[in-house]
């Protein structure tokens, strides 16, 4: 072959190669891709098949036992690549595994551009959903185990299912329950209705899972929640249903004749759907747990009902401390279980070493759906030893029941030995300067707080309520003076009233008595005894003024009555006349002047006249 022929051959071969390659490049492709290769029963997987090129025929999806595959959507597009226009078809499938296992989605084949193309097989690994035991999690009916369906139309097809992992737990053992709310896309929110029971403690696990599931041939959206139950007593314990106050959307259509006519043409444009929101209450069925008591065999004496799996550690901040300094004892109890009601763990016998100050316990709790309830309780004590020496602080012990191993465990942690050295306080005191610089002084730091000391014995002896004896005491101490004062008040008042009455009576009868006495004077004068008669008249006058002016009248003189007469506004002229009469009578009575009967009568009549003038004025 000549060189030019060889070159032509090579040229043709190159052209053919190029054409072949180009043909290869221009041929259609089909690819299949899963969104993920592993999952659980109940999950939804997505398979996307992309077809490029002109196809001849439809893609047929083979059936896979254990998988439900549904076409979700188709997307068409045109791509320009290197000046070439190609069309691309993308088909999306939803895959719902019905059981656990490893599934192989076989190659999907189709004729593309005259050539048969196929995808590579895909492997899908499905594990059992937690709590399902690998079995089908498709409820047997719309009202399956743990569900309560109040009627499809009334609840919009929404129902709640609850599955608990363990129906025969021990008292205090954690039980994980799944609560699944099934809906048809018409759930527009809701809130849980709390229902409590004294026999069960409930702990909600944060977070929720959402997926879809087919139940009796219908697809439901599922909201999966978790909660952990801890029974507090043995026996048959009813867990209240999980209740939800939900807002559901109900689509309604007008259903007139014209509306039904237009339904034949799609309806949606002419027969507007409208939704209304309704509030309903849905609840699952109550769950009954057969709670077992912890076994009596092998139960330690110090067992207080703690159930779970725990760790205990007890440490001291230091092993050697001078007298008066503080050492901190920390006791940590943690593990799977609820520790909030546990009594404080404290080292025994350390109170004999000195003062012990208990710090506020620290409690932390973490509720995890996978791991359960993990809690940690820390107790701290500040010990201030007061005596030198080496002391064994002893052990902290705690017993609990492990429900996994079904046996009791006893934890212990040794606090070790504490060496208390002689205090440095005295030695330091000697070194201190006698006049420390106040600028270098520091505030006394507070190490701890404690209760105030107890009150001395003598303060305990007396009763502090109002007892009978105290009441008697008050009545005596207060009542007697009160009665005395009241009695004096009454007596004084009565006396004053009586005296006033007497005075008033005497005053009103004064003139009458005076006239009676004056009559006696007249008689004496008539018996030729003028001196005696005037003496009697003098007495009568004094008694008269005594009665009138409330004075003692037997020995009254004018001076005694003068001020009272002035108080009574008796005119001066009358007072003068009274004085004149008094003087005359006194002169006659005490002067021993002889006086005749006529003179005596004259004086008597003067006395009568004066008194008759005074009478209306007093």
């Amino acid at each position: 072959m000549s060189l030019p022929c060889k070159m032509k051959l090579h040229r043709y071969l190159l052209i053919l190669l190029a054409c072949w390659l180009n043909a290869e490049a221009l041929a259609g492709t089909i690819t299949a891709e899963l969104d993920r290769a592993e999952g659980e029963v109940g999950d939804r997987f997505s398979l996307v098949v992309a077809i490029e090129g002109s196809r001849d025929g439809e893609l047929e999806l083979p059936e896979v036992d254990g998988l439900v595959i549904e076409q979700q959507g188709v997307q068409r597009s045109e791509i320009f690549n290197n000046g070439q226009r190609t069309s691309e078809l993308q088909i999306t499938y939803a895959i719902y595994p019905q059981r656990a296992g490893t599934f192989t989605i076989p190659s999907l084949a189709i004729e593309l551009d005259g050539k048969r193309e196929a995808t590579l097989p895909l492997t899908l690994k499905v594990e059992a959903a937690k709590g399902q035991g690998g079995q089908s999690n498709q409820p047997q009916s719309a009202a399956g185990s743990g569900t309560k369906n109040t009627g499809g139309d009334e609840t919009g097809g929404i129902f709640i299912e609850r599955d608990c992992q363990n129906s025969r737990p021990y008292v205090g053992e954690q039980v994980l329950c799944y609560v699944r709310v099934y809906h048809r896309g018409n759930l527009n929110g809701g809130q849980r209705l709390s229902q409590s029971s004294p026999d069960i403690r409930r702990f909600s696990v944060e977070g929720e899972r959402r997926y879809q599931r087919i139940v009796n041939g219908q697809r439901y959206g599922v909201i999966e929640l978790r909660e952990i139950l801890v029974p507090t007593k043995a026996g048959s314990v009813d867990v209240p249903p999980y209740a939800l106050e939900a807002r559901i959307l109900i689509w309604n259509k007008r259903n007139g004749k014209i509306d039904r006519f237009f339904d034949n043409f799609g309806g949606g444009l002419f027969n507007f759907n409208f939704t209304e929101e309704r509030e309903i209450k849905i609840e699952s069925e109550a769950t009954t747990l057969d709670v077992q008591p912890t076994p009596e065999q092998g139960r330690p004496e110090d067992f207080t009902g703690l159930v779970g799996q725990f760790k205990l550690s007890a440490t001291t901040s230091r092993n050697s401390v001078p007298v008066g300094d503080t050492v901190t004892i920390t006791i940590d109890l943690s593990g799977q279980g609820v520790l909030d009601t546990i009594k404080p763990l404290q080292p025994a016998g350390v109170e004999a070493l000195g003062k012990v100050y208990a710090d506020k316990p620290d409690y932390q709790e973490d509720v995890d759906g996978d791991k359960g309830i993990y809690s940690k309780h820390t107790f701290k004590y500040a010990l201030v030893p007061s005596k030198e020496g080496s002391y064994d602080l002893g052990q902290i012990k705690l017993s609990y029941f492990d429900p996994v191993q079904e046996q009791y465990q006893t934890l212990s942690s040794d606090l070790g030995t504490l060496v208390v050295e002689p205090g440095k306080a005295e030695a330091e005191q000697l070194l201190l300067p006698s006049n420390p610089n106040p600028l270098t002084q520091k505030q006394v730091a507070e190490l701890a707080r404690d209760l105030m000391p107890p009150h001395p014995q003598h303060t305990l002896l007396s009763k502090q309520t109002i007892t009978k004896s105290f009441l008697y005491f008050c009545l005596i101490v207060g009542g007697i003076p009160f009665l005395a004062a009241f009695g004096l008040f009454i007596f004084t008042t009565r006396k004053t009233v009586t005296t006033s009455r007497i005075i008033a009576k005497r005053k009103s009868h004064a003139i009458k008595r005076f006239r009676q006495r004056l009559e006696a004077s007249h008689q004496l004068i008539g018996q030729q005894k003028p001196s005696e008669g005037l003496a009697a008249a003098h007495l009568a006058m004094r008694l008269y003024f005594g009665d009138k002016l409330a004075l003692h009248g037997a020995a009254l003189t004018f001076r005694d009555i003068e001020s009272r007469l002035s108080e009574l506004a008796v005119p001066i002229a009358i007072q003068s006349r009274i004085q004149h009469v008094f003087n005359r009578l006194e002169a006659i009575e005490f002067g021993e002047q002889p006086i005749s009967t006529d003179q005596a009568k004259e004086i008597l009549s003067e006395v009568e006249v004066v008194l008759s003038e005074v009478e209306p004025l007093c």
Partner: protein, 256 residues
């Protein structure tokens, strides 16, 4: 020469005086024993004796105080708070009681105090009756009545003390005021207790089938405002919350 009549009267008074104090002698030996046990750190034994003494009618705020300390040492925070609250009723101004109550309340889980929200009139009454115990008000009333009466008696018995009369009559206003405060204190006595359970539910009614309104914890102070006669007590908290709680979950020291 001895006046036998005077001696016999003095003897009668002596016997009468100590007969009033006779009850104290019955409890004195028990309290001595309790104090000794308390000092030895045998708190449970001291608690038993204190409770026995209180149950037999020897009500003393200092006993409640020491009892509270003993409870605290036994980690019975709820009982300690209840005892300190009882002590405060009889020793309202005692700084030790106030300090220990405050210290105990700082240890409880719930943020609560020992005063409930009340109206203006209640606050006004509490402002005057709060700082005094019932016995102090009764004693004050007695002494003021006695002094006013003595002054009045003096003013009526002798003329030279007549000027005291008006002062004595006005002096009766003071015991009337203290007597009124005593009446109000006895009428509106607040009964405080504390939660002794680790965690106690409070219901909307006196039955566990009612709604759980809230939960309170060990040591929380509660004001008892009613009783259903069976197992539930109506309570009020310092933050205004109210409800019914099982009687077994709280401790109230009620005097006989």
């Amino acid at each position: 020469m001895l006046n036998l009549k005077l001696i016999s009267w003095i003897s009668v008074l002596y016997v009468a005086f100590y007969s009033f104090l006779g009850l104290a002698n019955d409890f004195e030996s028990k309290l001595i024993q309790a104090t000794a046990l308390f000092d030895q750190g045998k708190n449970e034994d001291a608690i038993r004796i204190y409770e026995d003494v209180l149950a037999n009618g020897h009500i003393n705020g200092h006993v409640y105080y020491n009892l509270g300390i003993a409870y605290y040492r036994q980690q019975r925070l709820g009982d300690a708070v209840a005892a300190f609250l009882a002590a405060k009723r009889y020793l309202p101004r005692d700084p030790d009681v106030t300090a220990n109550l405050r210290f105990s309340l700082s240890r409880i889980q719930d943020q609560l105090g020992v005063e409930v929200p009340s109206g203006l009139s209640a606050k006004f009454v509490n402002a005057f009756t709060g700082p005094f115990s019932e016995r102090e008000l009764a004693l004050a009333t007695t002494i003021l009545v006695s002094l006013a009466s003595l002054g009045l008696a003096l003013s009526y018995s002798a003329a030279r003390f007549r000027s005291l009369r008006l002062v004595a009559w006005i002096g009766y206003v003071l015991p009337m005021i203290s007597g009124l405060l005593l009446f109000l204190k006895l009428t509106y006595v607040e009964t405080w207790g504390a939660v002794t359970a680790g965690s106690a539910k409070v219901f909307s009614g006196p039955n566990t089938s009612n709604t759980v309104l809230f939960e309170i914890h060990n040591g929380a102070p509660v004001l008892a405002t009613g009783y259903d006669g069976a197992n539930f007590v109506r309570i009020e908290l310092s933050d205004g919350k109210k409800g019914w709680i099982a009687a077994q979950d709280i401790r109230i020291f009620t005097p006989m």
